[in-house]
């Protein structure tokens, strides 16, 4: 009996917390499905729409270039992931496997970047990006590059890859070198395939981080055609001022891609094996 009561209260609390976690979205979905004949400020509030409609979705879809935002987000997140994988793997390898002058300095310089918050250095980063003409007022390609470069590599990624290379038995390298591999061949043909699981983790978490990034794009972007999803969604508020049906529908629409991604990759996020992998 005591066991039953204990289990019952655990489920009760967890259901309550789960509901609190998703309720803001449920309420947003509910609002987005309410037609013009239903007062969205009605007391008492109703979760199930009485004047059910998809019209808010088609309305916001016609006025807002979600496909464009989505493509921009894909380009930026894709480019960020791609560069992070290459640069982190390349930098992590010598830190794990080679002896060279200045290794300690390199190691601690990279470690130091973890302590520097982007928010504190963003003003010079902005000036440098302007000076390098990596902004959307030059052209779209420059705009994308400017969105990507400040996040093209992270200390987190470098240390993750270093850790992965440290775990490979040294005999692997010896065998490959005896077989006549060059360092570059050894790296690309032998070592990279062995650290694929870490690369996957790095890719997934970099993708999520880049996809949600809001501060940097809202600083550098000037053209609406270049907006990424978070910037575009924030802009809904200005476009539709108090039309909460449209704002709600647009917010939900913008969330669908990342939701699918999360559900497909959920084991990476909730297994706990990659503890602390998202940037704080």
């Amino acid at each position: 009996m005591k066991k039953f009561f204990e289990k019952f209260s655990i489920h009760f609390i967890l259901i309550a917390v789960s509901l609190l976690s998703i309720f803001p979205f449920i309420w947003l979905i509910s609002t987005s499905l309410k037609g013009p004949d239903e007062n969205i400020f009605a007391y008492p509030p109703t979760i199930i729409p009485s004047d059910f409609t998809w019209a808010n979705y088609s309305g916001v879809w016609d006025k807002v270039d979600f496909i464009g935002y989505f493509i921009n987000s894909m380009i930026v997140a894709g480019g960020t992931v791609f560069l992070n994988l290459i640069l982190s793997a390349m930098a992590g390898y010598p830190l794990a496997r080679m002896e060279f002058k200045g290794k300690k300095i390199a190691f601690f310089s990279i470690l130091a970047t973890i302590m520097i918050p982007f928010q504190a250095i963003m003003l010079p980063v902005y000036l440098i990006t302007l000076k390098l003409h990596l902004v959307d007022s030059v052209n779209n390609l420059a705009g994308y590059i400017g969105l990507i470069m400040p996040f093209a590599v992270s200390a987190f990624g470098i240390f993750l890859m270093r850790q992965a290379f440290l775990g490979i038995p040294k005999e692997m390298e010896e065998a490959a070198v005896i077989d006549g591999c060059s360092v570059w061949q050894l790296f690309t043909k032998v070592l990279i395939p062995m650290v694929k699981p870490s690369l996957a983790v790095l890719a997934i978490f970099t993708f999520i981080g880049s996809w949600g990034e809001f501060l940097w794009p809202s600083i550098v972007l000037t053209k609406e055609a270049m907006y990424t999803l978070p910037v575009g969604v924030n802009n809904l508020q200005g476009m539709f001022s108090s039309n909460w049906r449209f704002i709600a529908a647009g917010s939900i629409l913008s969330t669908i891609p990342i939701l699918i991604f999360f559900l497909a990759m959920q084991r990476y996020f909730i297994s706990g094996e990659n503890e602390g992998a998202v940037k704080g």
Binding site: L14, S21, Y43, W244, L259
Partner: protein
Amino acid sequence: MFKYYGKYAPYLFLLPAGIVLLIFFFIPFFQTFVLSFQDYSYDIYHPAWIGLKNYVELFHNPIFYKVLWNTFIYLFVAVPILAIFPLFIAILINQKIRGVTLYKILIYLPVIVSIVVAAIAFKWLYADQGILNYIVTSLGLEPIGWLTAPKWALYSVIWVTIWKGIGYYMIIYLAALMSVPKELYEACDIDGASFFRKHLTVTIPHIMPTIALVTTISAISAMKVFAEIYVMTKGGPLNSSKTIVYYIYERAFENLDLGYASAMAVVLLIIVMAFSFINIFCFERNKYQL
């Protein structure tokens, strides 16, 4: 091990990452200090060197103290809740029960969703005639200006940060809980210890390092909040929900006062670096194998 790589190989491998870090981390890091000694407000292309004047002004600016105070309230409210509540949830999820994966997915969901969407969702909950005020008024109380009353705005925004962080820290705690030896719990069960007693005497002491880690990372991220405020209140009303990163953004990109904003950035830098330093050298030594 024999050396199979040439003299230059390590440097060539490090070079691409090094260039990016140099241009987008190290140079900006030092330039932040340089900017803070300059005045950009008259001519953005020819800043004037004004020594410590930005700092003197900053420390005589009541809004700066207000903003700093708000940031610390953010910390004092969000950090203890984020250090304790997710641990409680993690312990519950760690019991042998059904539906664990579903609970984890639902509680983790806010972490994955864009902060902009989360802030919009909460703005809607907080609306003057919104659903939260319905609850408040049906309890017989006056409706609350969640985002419009200076007394409440900051706390309403803090709640969004907390809500969005719970799942993230829960997963960190779940990973730590795996390392607690099962025999200790069995011993407790034999002794007939209660649920709370068991976790107070076994779990908490065992995962103390993780609690400390969560405290410092949640403190660092609380120092850096921006999007919640930008989307929900723009720092208002009357600066009541303005925190340091938002104020830096406002001074730099709305008032185009890069020097002044940089002086604030230096203050932010020093505080965050202190937290991070503790974090890395006390709690994350293993992660970096120092």
